[in-house]
């Protein structure tokens, strides 16, 4: 039976993992992801989840264990944050190139130093090119829903790529919100039992992750990219199915009050919820402003983002990460995505919300106003930092 409960973001993720009936869990606790692992290990210990919990000494090993278990045909889960994701980094390329549908949740955290356990998107941006399907959640309900969707997408026979769900550390992982939990049968319908086509089997041995000399490496990467690109449409299909069963919808790019908007603000993750309040306030004053969020980060939703900002004169992008010596990574990708468009909007870059710093409604308003000024008069700087003390 569907029920509405108050749940912390981390517990909502754990609940999704439990209802997805995973076989193998392997994770190393790190703030702000700790509550997810704690809750899951409790579930396993209490017999609420029939899974193998592999305790490891590092995130590098956690992902390695997931790779092995997934190759054996198990449904697997891991989660991490910040430095933990960085320690895992080397192994992240393995399931994507071996086409293993590992699912991971990242409670986004800033990178050291100075040591910060608080949230931003530096860890997420550092794993941009790992070849995983990457999705950003905005609230606790989405953290639950998108974790379920990650399994549906990753295990689709036309995808078979790992999937990562990003949720903002503390702002989502530690916040309690009402969540609608579906019936177990609905979940079972959405993510049926999974059979990996080449699961390790002594009777029918295969070799995975073989070495690829120069004569074959390029072909291997080409086939990986073609397959990854074509998984884009399956993500949308899976979200369509999700809506049919659970009556909540997700899109690669989600728009808020963008119809007739001259200026569109683009924000990823939980900060979009505050940004909406700023949009509401400005709309009340008759300003034609709207908000777009990249729900899907990889594969990058080129068509959807071009459609979502069609007609707007200006796109104001907030990055919660700095590419040192360059600027905002999301903004740089958007600029390149629009470069060849005839009627492209001007794109202005802001960076803020670093290391757990909040961004207020006023500051979103400021970004839109200041963005317009920069668009009209130009600026000597590639981006402007929000809320930095001068």
């Amino acid at each position: 039976m569907t029920k509405r409960v108050g749940l912390e973001g981390s517990f909502a993720v754990s609940e999704a993992v439990r209802m997805a009936d995973v076989d193998v869990l392997s994770a190393y606790p790190i703030t702000p992801q700790t509550h997810i692992v704690e809750r899951l290990s409790e579930m396993v210990a209490d017999g609420d989840l029939d899974a193998e919990f592999i305790c490891v000494e590092s995130e590098h090993s956690a992902m390695s264990a997931c790779v092995g278990a997934s190759a054996a045909g198990a449904r697997v889960f891991t989660c991490t944050a910040g430095q933990g994701l960085e320690l895992m980094h080397e192994v992240l390329y393995i399931p994507s190139s071996m086409r293993l549908p590992v699912v991971a949740v990242v409670a986004n955290r800033a990178l050291s130093s100075p040591l910060s356990v608080w949230g931003d998107h530096s860890d997420a941006m550092a794993v941009r090119d790992i070849g995983w399907v990457q999705i950003f959640a905005e609230n606790v309900q989405q953290a639950y829903d998108l974790t379920l969707c990650a399994y549906r997408i990753a295990e689709d026979k036309d995808v078979l790529f790992p999937a990562m769900v990003h949720l903002d550390g503390f702002h989502l992982s530690h916040v309690i919100e009402p969540v609608i939990l579906p019936d177990q049968r609905q979940v079972d319908d959405f993510i049926p039992e999974f059979e990996y086509p080449f699961a390790l089997n002594p009777d029918k041995p295969v070799s995975m992750g073989c070495y690829g000399p120069p004569y074959i490496y390029t072909e291997a990467k080409k086939s990986q990219n073609v397959a990854f690109e074509s998984s884009r449409k399956i993500v949308s299909k899976a979200w369509g199915e999700f809506e049919g069963i659970f009556e909540r919808s997700y899109l690669p790019v989600e728009s808020y009050r963008t119809e007739d908007a001259d200026v569109i603000l683009l924000v990823m993750g939980s900060f979009a919820e505050t940004a909406m309040l700023a949009i509401d306030r400005m709309r009340k004053e008759g300003k034609k402003v709207g908000l777009a969020r990249l729900r899907l980060w990889r594969p990058f939703p080129f068509d959807e983002i071009r459609k979502a900002v069609k007609g707007a004169k200006l796109l104001v992008v907030l990055d919660r990460c700095i590419s040192f010596g360059y600027g905002g990574p999301v903004c740089s990708e958007l600029r390149s995505a629009f470069y060849r468009e005839k009627n492209r909007p001007d794109i202005v870059s802001f960076i803020g919300g670093l290391g757990g710093r909040d961004i207020t409604i006023d500051q979103y308003e400021y970004m839109i106003k200041r963005g317009k000024e920069i668009s009209e008069n130009g600026s000597e700087e590639e981006f402007e930092m929000i809320g930095v003390r001068q």
Partner: protein, 91 residues
């Protein structure tokens, strides 16, 4: 040669053990030559060869399988009788 379309999911190799078809002998620039008249059949070259490229023939002689021998020279270094000489591979 294989096109990218011919590759299996995740470049998985579905015929396991096919490394034996790989001619590591192509890597060789120096070649061990065994003087059977000096050889005392101690088997050290067989044990030390990192590529298992030394084989024992039916007649009881140790022989190098040049399909796999990479020419590292370990066998020649270990041979207690100086029965193995490394020569530059010309072709």
């Amino acid at each position: 040669m294989l096109s990218w379309k011919d590759l299996e999911l995740g470049s998985i190799v579905t015929e396991p053990g096919n490394a034996s078809a790989y001619k590591t002998g192509d890597w060789r620039s120096n070649k061990p030559i065994r003087d059977q008249s000096k050889c005392i059949k101690c088997g050290l070259c067989y044990i030390y060869c990192p590529d298992a490229a030394v084989e024992l023939s039916k007649a009881g002689n140790y022989e190098t399988n040049y399909f796999y021998c990479k020419g590292c020279g370990i066998c020649a270094n270990e041979c207690p009788r100086g029965a193995l000489t490394m020569i530059v591979e010309e072709e």
